[in-house]
């Protein structure tokens, strides 16, 4: 569907609950992965003839390997607490986008084949046979979940629909029925080292151009090193930071902070991607292989620390899973957590007084901050609970004069997904992306009306891309979305930098 067809939802309140509209998003499906993409990831090339048996076998396997999947399938009581928590439900009104209903698409099949009640009394417990229609329904609605975990916060048992969605996608891939967007991208990471398929030569040229831009702008030589043996810090950042707006301004910000902090650092052309789409498709093996690239790069370059750039789910995989998937990190400097977030680094430098800022450089903006879902609910920063909320805000306030928060019910652990996370950032799902963004956009519009907010700051490559695409639908310019380190970059005063006063004097 072209995005011009989308009815942009008009909400009075970001969390306004719609009356259900069964079938509203029925049949919306992303493109199927091609045989080559599936093959590269170790999946069957196309839907296998015995898909039903294979799917059930995979379901049984996952229930044995993952306690979350097993427990969550069993213990939901259908209380309804989650039913109004998903941004895709709020934006589309399709009841199958209610977290419990989304889980039930799979739970109904689990019950039919793996539980006493479902085997003998299927009508009683809503159990159903696995048919091609059900498989297609899975393909549709498990690609209308961004794995943002908002439902899990509000569930009395912590049932995380993301876990069910990931399992469902893993099952779909196991029968050769995976999606194009994620599978194609994971293939590029395995082959080239990043989601974009940028080869080392192109990457080096891009970085040199950026170095020139910084020098033109500031008069200071700030390096963006790549593949430098013996550097102290390996920076792993989403590849969107190398070319997309506003991501690239964030990368310039990291480079300036490292420069001013006087540390030696490097990017790696081999691990030139922080994102790990293995998470999105719920496939442990692929997630592990992608993570192992970072371990190899760190070893080959002989670094002492690893720092991640601004990326939401990448930070979840980095913070929560990297030690599991690619650890132990006993060859790195034990004085630093592995890995660290760039915001942890920058905030630490600010606290130590190593950075000076001209906050007025950001005075043309009034800012608010979008807590990215995977950072907010799947990870942490610093050494205190809630550091993932405090540290980004602290950094923004250190470099900007005008900052306000959005409605508390839509920030921190209750934050709303941007609408494009979890492997849905593809044009074939644009209708869903626009609708799914409406709760967040409505909260933003409220701050614009009440406090004159002009810009939204984010720390996730997907959020940034998604917002630059959908914000125009909600009355904002596409450059109203900014990187947090873009704000840092605007305000930071480098040693020897030509300031405006120098220029006029």
């Amino acid at each position: 569907m072209a995005d011009g067809d989308t009815q942009v939802p008009q909400l009075d309140d970001p969390l306004q609950i719609p009356c259900i509209k069964p079938g509203a998003m029925e049949g919306l499906q992303p493109f199927l992965a091609s045989p080559e993409h599936n093959k590269a990831l170790g999946f069957p090339e196309e839907l296998v003839p015995d898909w039903k048996e294979k799917a059930l076998a995979k379901m049984a396997e996952l229930a044995e390997k993952n306690r979350a999947f097993q427990v969550y399938l069993d213990i939901c009581v259908k209380c309804g607490a989650c039913t109004d928590k998903c941004h895709y439900f709020l934006g589309t009104a399709d009841p199958k986008n209610m977290p419990v209903a989304r889980q039930d698409l799979l739970r109904s099949v689990y019950r039919r084949y793996f539980t006493f009640a479902g085997k003998y009394f299927p009508w009683l417990v809503g159990a159903r046979d696995l048919t091609k229609e059900v498989l297609d329904e899975w393909y549709s609605y498990y690609h209308q979940c961004s794995e943002c975990r908002r439902c899990s916060v509000f569930c009395p048992y912590g049932i995380d629909t993301a876990e069910i969605t990931m399992a469902a996608r893993d099952i779909l891939d196991a029968v050769g029925y995976g999606m194009k967007y994620s599978n194609e991208i994971i293939g590029k990471v395995h082959d080239v080292g990043n989601n974009l398929g940028l080869n080392p030569k192109a990457l080096r040229a891009t970085l040199e151009d950026l170095e020139e831009d910084i020098e033109d702008e500031t008069g200071v030589t700030v390096r963006i090193p790549i593949d430098e043996q013996g550097a102290d810090i390996l920076l792993v950042t989403p590849s969107a930071d190398f070319f997309a707006e506003p991501h690239i301004d964030g990368l310039i910000g990291y480079a300036k902070v490292f420069h001013q902090a006087g540390v030696s650092w490097t990017l790696s052309s081999y691990a030139s991607e922080a994102a790990n789409f293995g998470l999105f498709i719920g496939n442990y093996e692929n997630m592990r292989l992608v993570s192992q690239r970072i371990r190899k790069a760190a070893k080959d370059l002989g670094v002492k620390r690893i720092i991640f750039g601004e990326c939401g789910h990448a930070w979840r995989v980095a913070y929560s899973f990297l030690n599991t998937l690619a650890g132990p990190w006993d060859f790195l400097d034990p004085n630093y957590p592995v890995p660290q977030h760039i915001l942890e680094f920058t905030w630490n430098e600010i606290q130590q007084g190593n950075l000076t800022f001209d906050k007025s450089q950001n005075d043309h903006m009034t800012l608010t901050f979008h807590d990215s879902c995977n950072v907010a609910r799947g990870s942490r920063m610093g050494d205190m609970p809630g550091g993932q909320f405090e540290i980004p805000r602290n950094v923004i306030k250190a470099v900007c004069n005008n900052y306000v928060d959005m409605d508390r019910d839509t920030t921190h652990e209750s934050t709303l997904c941007c609408g494009g996370g979890g492997g849905l950032l593809t044009d074939d799902l644009m209708d869903l992306r626009i609708k799914g963004a409406s709760p967040r956009m409505t909260a933003l519009q409220q701050t614009t009306e009440e406090h004159g907010v002009t810009h939204l700051a984010a720390i996730c490559a997907i959020c940034k891309t998604q917002f630059s695409k959908v914000m125009p639908k909600y009355g904002y310019d596409m450059d109203s979305i900014v990187s947090v380190h873009q704000l840092v970059s605007n305000a930071i005063i480098l040693d020897g930098q030509e300031t405006e006063e120098d220029a006029t004097a």
């Binding site: 390997k65 213990i75 209380c79 009640a117 509000f154 442990y284 030690n323 609910r377 609970p385």
Partner: protein, 241 residues
């Protein structure tokens, strides 16, 4: 004859609930959680996790954040149910009862009304709220009907049509020592006990598993310390060889 049937049913139901729940709990316990997935706000110490879990099961903290109506009805029902169960111990313990149990009797007595009101509220939502109506299966209605019928039949015996409670106590407490004493035959006690037996039997094969299951939910019971401590499932460790 009827006493013998009920006694046997109680034994069967007890075996089914104990063995059934034990098997499920064992399954939850041995199934590894391959990744660290605690949901924010996640404690960073084991003590913090214990406190979080206590807040969840005593106050229903997450549910309170989520929906005040479901919390009100659900919490009322569960807490009242505890009081009612404790009160019923006097009918199953042989001989005289400890003083604290006697002390709790009046609370348990009136908790029966709270329990019924809570259940009625939860059931009403299954009809009145379109989202909850959509997700409800027949079994979701039936389990509420079952619990409500247990509560109403119990209240009826307490406040309207008394049964021979001394005989009931003799019957129930005799079961511990495999003595089958005579069970009164008035309809309410027979209905009440039959429904309780049904509840025990369906417990391990239904969503009632949420009671033991909540303690095994990784998003609630994990410590947020993945950078400090390496967490790896046995099957995942195999991949490293």
């Amino acid at each position: 004859m009827l006493s013998t049937i009920y006694a046997l049913l109680f034994y069967v139901a007890t075996i089914l609930i104990v063995v059934g729940v034990a098997l499920k709990v064992r399954k939850y316990a041995v199934t590894p959680a391959p990744l660290k997935i605690p949901t924010t706000p996640a404690p960073i110490t084991t003590g913090g996790v214990v406190l979080r879990m206590l807040r969840e099961v005593i106050f229903f903290e997450s549910l309170f954040k989520s929906n005040k109506w479901i919390w009100l009805f659900g919490w009322t029902f569960h807490m009242a149910l505890w009081l009612v169960i404790i009160r019923h111990l006097r009918y199953t313990i042989p001989g005289t009862t400890p003083f604290w149990l006697d002390f709790l009797q009046p609370f348990g007595k009136y908790a029966g009304f709270a329990m019924v009101l809570g259940l009625a509220g939860l059931w009403a939502r299954r009809f009145l709220v379109d989202r909850v109506r959509y997700i409800s299966s027949p079994s979701d209605h039936l389990i509420l009907a079952l619990l409500l019928a247990i509560g109403l039949s119990g209240l009826t015996m307490k406040f309207v049509a008394h049964t021979d409670i001394l005989a009931v106590k003799a019957f129930m407490s005799g079961l511990w020592t495999f003595q089958i004493n005579r069970l009164p035959t008035d309809p309410f006690i027979l209905i009440h006990l039959a429904l309780v037996i049904t509840l025990m039997i369906v417990f391990p094969i239904s969503k009632l598993l949420h009671a033991p299951g909540v303690f095994f939910s990784p998003s609630r019971n994990q410590v947020d310390n993945p950078r400090e401590q390496r967490h790896i499932a046995p099957w995942a460790a195999e991949l490293e060889k």
